[in-house]
Symmetry: C2
Subunit: 196 residues, 2 copies
């Protein structure tokens, strides 16, 4: 409707962009209101003109992170499909890529934050659950039609778990090997065009 966003709306968006990256980088508890405002080029006093509370920011930021990641990862998926990969292979390779291992800040919000979700305020938890559902739905759309409808949940679980374990091991040979093991296992099991 409002084709030209107001100055305030632009600032609001900028704060969200910043926060969406910050929560993935530093965790829900790792970011302060002042930090984020500063990173967005503002002073902390103006914060409450944009958000009712810190939790309100976290809620919006988590939602925003989902969209940011859809863009980032979406490109990788599309490129792999144009190169001839099946939808599932494209997804698995993009998700379990070394790029994703390193780029927490722009990566999947679920992988970056799941274990903290159960400890957040109800509003944040609700959005978190939604993000989990979207991830499962994304996997589901990549499966060949007629596939077992519980497969999506299993694949999503494995991808999220793999990325987290790899990050816990570190951005090194050990972490990368764990990612590779998961890529192989997933593709061998679910991708019909799989090759060694």
């Amino acid at each position: 409707m409002q084709a030209i966003p107001s100055r305030k709306a632009l600032t609001h968006e900028r704060i969200l962009e910043t926060a969406a990256r910050a929560i993935r980088r530093a965790g829900f508890n790792g970011v302060g209101v002042a930090d984020i405002m500063k990173e967005a080029g503002l002073t902390h006093g103006g914060f409450y003109a944009h958000f009712a509370s810190r939790d309100a920011l976290l809620t919006e930021a988590l939602e925003h992170a989902g969209n940011q990641n859809a863009n980032h990862m979406g490109k990788g998926i599309v490129r792999r499909q144009t190169d001839g990969a099946t939808p599932l292979r494209a997804l698995v390779e993009a998700y379990l890529s070394e790029r994703h291992l390193t780029g927490v800040e722009n990566g999947c919000a679920v992988a970056a934050l799941v274990s903290e979700m159960p400890r957040q305020a109800p509003e944040v938890r609700a959005v978190g659950a939604q993000r989990v559902r979207s991830l499962v739905a994304l996997v589901e759309r990549s499966l060949p039609p007629g596939a077992d409808n519980t497969a999506a949940a299993a694949i999503a679980s494995q991808m999220v778990g793999a990325m987290q374990l790899a990050r816990a091991l570190g951005d090194n040979a050990e972490g990368k090997a764990l990612l590779a093991a998961n890529r192989n296992a997933l593709l061998a099991q679910y991708d019909t065009t799989s090759q060694t």
Copy 2:
């Protein structure tokens, strides 16, 4: 060596027991020095006679949590094996049980804390990586001899991811369904004695 533990050693142990549960319940950032001391029946002032710093406590507590969980979950695994389950089935069913879904406090430290690990102090991270390796090793020991040696990493990833996604969805039908989907997928793929 020291068969009779000193009074101080007993207190130290009690603080660790408390902290090991607290970090899984509330996360690394969710527990304060004073909270833990209070929960252990002490005042916060005495803390630094036991630990050099808060991070030192987190490090020891994470290690301790691993042992606590080995006891807790170990029982469930043994019972399932005596009831005739294969080692892998026993592990998968114990790990992806509804009991584990609810009992974060006594559950797997990796599932409770992975996404926070990359953001911790180096000493804590190091222990975290060790706990990941132990988990993979535990899975490995449950696999039939001669199994693909990358399978353990894949299974561990899926189990950890599944537990976390289920917890993010909540202790309800949705979360339980996700667990069930993962149990089925894992057993169908890796357990030869699998049945619908």
